[in-house]
Structure formats: C-alpha cells, structure tokens
C-alpha cells in the first residue's frame, strides 16, 4: 500500500514475448528470444547462462540502451517507451561489467548524474560511500588512482545516488578475486535489505546465484529456459540444459 492507501502492484518490471534481433553478416541474429517474465518489487534476481547467451543484451533492453525488436517491457505497469528515456534510466540504473569512471575525483563521479541544484553534500556523499563499503576520505581521490574493486564500488555508489528503483548489475565481480567477490555479494544483499532495492544481476557463475539466494533466470541462446528459486533450481534442475550448465558442460 502506498501513502494514499491505494494498492501498488507487486510487479515492478515485466516482459512480454520480449525479443531482439541484430543484423549479422548475411542475415540477422536473434539475441533475445521471446522472453516473458515478472520481476517483483524488492527481490534479488540473478540472470545466469553461458557466454553469449544474451544476459547483457537482456539488461540493456530494460533501461533502453538497446531497442527491442518484438514484444514489450513494462515498468510499473507502463510500457517503458512511454517514459522519457532519461527518466527511465534514472529509475532503472545499470552498472556495467567494466566500471567506467569519468576523469576527476570520486566525488565528481558520484554527483555526475545530478542536476547542479541537487548535487549531494559531503555528508550524503559519505553516506553513499559507506553504503558500498568505502571510506569517506576516498571522495577527494582521483578516479584513476583506484583499484579495480574500488572503481567497481564507486560505480555502484554512483548508480545509487540517482535513487533508482531497480539496479541492473552486469557481472559486477568478474574482474575481482574470490575474496573481493564475496564482499561485493554481501554488499548487494545489504543494499537489497536496506534500500528495498530490486536487483537484477547477471552472472555466469551459478554458485554466486546460490549465495545470493534469490530468484534465478537461466538463459541459453537468448531463450529463458528455466526460472525459479535459485536453491531449488540449481540443486535440482528440471531442464536438461540447466543440468548441463550446472555440470559445466555449457561454456
């Protein structure tokens, strides 16, 4: 229930026969093949699948960095094309697999998304840094003088500054060692708990999906072949392709 007492839908994002075709050498190539799915508010989702299965492509359709070819995406029950695209992207934030920080300080990166009059003050910058497990002293640091893990966290904090409803994460731990990956995973769980943020994270590692303990979507060749509670899905896969993926036979 929202403050007016009206019931707000539990479903925050929904796809309906969503498809994307890209031009290829001679013909065209289907990268997302008729995906229908409902994402519920405040949950953690992991999109899992072998390399080239369309995980990144799917995320890019959600914030309209790419255009769909068929079907529809609904955010808060409205077609995403009905929103001004810049507003949509503030509501559905995307953190790329390789974090890109703009030249300048960490602080200037954090306030990048903000119009001049709404630039966060030092104390709220510190709060965002703390949220991603960074010291507030880092705010004045040159963005180029950071470790990969720190960059990843700053990029995450920067996405959070725009106060999104949904956070899309594309393999946020792929460049990190196992220890650093674990802390990012904990961070993601905390963000989900503290901010009630809906998180959709791409990973090629089903064990990571198990640890995050949310709902998983298994993608193979652009198709959603199986979905459900991560634990159940990966400990007892129903689909043969999921089983082969878990065994490491699909790369």
């Amino acid at each position: 229930m929202n403050k007016n007492g009206a019931k707000i839908s539990d479903i925050i994002l929904r796809t309906e026969n969503l498809g994307r075709t890209v031009p290829a050498e001679s013909s065209s190539r289907v990268v997302i093949d008729s995906i229908s799915f409902e994402f519920h508010r405040g949950k953690i989702y992991t999109v899992v699948g072998p390399s080239g299965s369309g995980k990144t492509s799917l995320l890019r359709l959600f914030n309209r960095l790419d255009e769909k070819s068929r079907g529809e995406v609904y955010y808060e029950n409205r077609r995403i094309a009905e929103y001004a695209v810049t507003d949509l992207r503030r509501k559905i934030a995307l953190a790329f697999q390789i974090p890109y920080l703009f030249p300048g300080t960490v602080a200037s990166n954090l306030s990048y998304c903000c119009p001049d009059q709404t630039v966060p003050d030092d104390s709220s910058l510190a709060r965002y840094l703390k949220l991603v497990g960074l010291e507030e002293e880092l705010a004045g640091r040159d963005s180029e003088k950071l470790s990969v893990g720190q960059k990843q966290r700053v990029a995450l904090a920067r996405a959070l500054v725009q106060e999104p409803d949904i956070l899309l994460l594309d393999e946020p731990t792929s460049a990190l060692d196992p220890g650093a990956s674990r802390t990012i995973e904990e961070l993601i769980t905390n963000l989900n708990n503290e901010l009630q943020l809906t998180i959709i994270m791409v990973t090629h590692n089903f064990r990571q999906a198990l640890r995050l303990n949310g709902v998983s979507l298994v993608l193979v060749d652009g198709k959603l072949i199986e979905s459900g509670d991560s634990k159940a899905l990966f400990t007892n896969p129903e689909n043969d392709l999921t089983r082969r993926f878990v065994k490491g036979e699909l790369r």
């Binding site: 914030n63 309209r64 960095l65 790419d66 255009e67 094309a81 695209v85 810049t86 507003d87 992207r89 503030r90 934030a93 995307l94 790329f96 390789i98 890109y100 703009f102 990048y112 998304c113 920067r158 996405a159 725009q162």
Partner: protein
C-alpha cells in the same frame, strides 16, 4: 616582375630534372614520384589556368554561384570519403561546407569587401571550400573515432540519465577543436615562421607588401570564420546521426 616565358618554364623544368638526378644518385628512391609529379602538376595547373581564364571572363553571378556549388559538391564528396561509418555523411559535409562558405562569402559580398567578379570570387571560394572541406572531414573522423573508442564512457553517461548531447559533449568539443587546429596553429606561426602562400604570391606578382599583408589578413579571418562554422555544423549533424531518437548509440 617574374618572367614567365617558355624559356623560364624550361629552366624551372630543368631544376626538376636536377632533383630527379640527385634523387637517383643518392638512392632516395623518389625519382618515379618526382617525374610523375612534375608532369601531373604541370598538366593539372595548366588546365586549371585555362579554366580560370575562361571563368574569369564570366561576370554572371549565376555562373559564379554555379562554380561555387560545383566546388562544394566536390569538396563534400571528398570529405565524406574520409569518414566512412557515419550515416548520411555526404549530406552532413555538404550542408556544413555550404553553411560555412555561404555565411562568409555572403558577408564579404554584402559588405562590398569583394565584388561579384570571378577574379575574387573563385580563388576565395576555392580557399574557403578547401579549408572547410578539410575541417569537416577532420571533425567527422575525430567524432567517429572518439565515440566508437569511448563507447563505454558514452553509454555510462546515458545510463546515468544524461541525454545524447550531454553524453558526447567532451568528444564534440575535442572534434571541433581538432577541425580548427590547423587554422589555430597557422595563427601562431604566421609572419614568424611562415609567410602565407597567397601573400607571397601577391608580392611575387608585384603587389606592395603592406597591401598584400592586409589582403592576407582579410582572407585568413574569412577562412577561419568559414572553418569554424563548418566545424560546428558538421559536429552537430554528425552527433545527431550517431543516436536514435531514444538516445541509443547506433554506431
């Protein structure tokens, strides 16, 4: 006054023969290019000389504008071939060069600084279009390489809710600057390291040096204005072609 009879030309040719012999003797390996270059430049320049003799008899404004239009068409075609990968590249360079040339030539004509006579109009038009063409090509080339080389930076900005114009802002400015660089460098060295060709030519032809200097100044500023207009128009039109109406990068 420099003499320009057959004997004098023959002596100049013999200097080229000397250059060929020297190249051969010192095994520089450029004699073939030198010979071809000598013949080629001779034929091209003489042909242009005859064409100009013919055009200079024209006093008709439509004939002059027609000539200018042909120069712009050739110029935009040449510029567009240097920047493949940009949609509607020929249209972009055509519009940009036309804008740059008409604004400056138009102003010069309107203020009576030059008269609508082939003797002034054609050489000035040629210089304006030539420099604008280089600028347009440079700007398109630079924008294309900056944006394709910084795809992640552009899409990061888009994902943070910036519009397409804001997302390419730094590259836009870099490209326009690159297009104007040769002009800006020219200003730094002119009169100190180099004497511009037009001015040298006038002095050789017997004009008083101060008169030649002022003509050069007028011509220089005029070309700079044309180049600036062309560069900015090129950049605007090029950037627009790189995005869909939903602020999606499409190159």
């Amino acid at each position: 006054m420099i003499e320009t009879g057959f004997v004098e030309v023959a002596i100049a040719v013999s200097l080229m023969v000397l250059a060929v012999i020297l190249s051969r003797w010192q095994r520089v390996g450029t004699e073939k290019e030198l010979i071809i270059g000598t013949i080629r430049s001779f034929v091209q320049l003489v042909a242009v000389g005859y064409a100009l003799e013919f055009i200079f008899d024209l006093e008709n404004i439509f004939a002059l504008l027609g000539t200018l239009m042909i120069m712009i068409l050739i110029g935009s075609h040449t510029a567009s071939r240097r920047a493949p990968g940009i949609p509607r590249v020929r249209m972009i360079s055509f519009l940009a060069i036309t804008a740059g040339s008409t604004v400056t030539l138009g102003l010069m004509l309107a203020t009576g600084i030059i008269q609508a006579k082939a003797q002034y109009f054609i050489p000035l038009g040629g210089m304006t279009v030539g420099n604008s063409m280089n600028c347009s090509a440079l700007v398109m080339e630079r924008l294309h390489s900056e944006v394709t080389g910084n795809r992640l930076a552009v899409e990061t900005a888009l994902s943070l809710g910036k519009n397409w114009r804001q997302a390419v802002d730094t590259f836009f400015r870099k490209a326009v600057k690159a297009g104007m660089m040769s002009m800006l460098n020219f200003f730094k060295v002119v009169g100190i390291v180099t004497l511009p060709g037009a001015m040298t030519g006038m002095i050789l032809a017997g004009a008083p040096p101060l008169k030649a200097v002022f003509i050069q100044i007028i011509v220089g500023y005029m070309i700079t204005a044309a180049v600036t207009v062309t560069g900015i128009v090129t950049a605007h039109l090029t950037v627009r072609q790189m995005f869909t109406s939903a602020d999606q990068l499409k190159i």
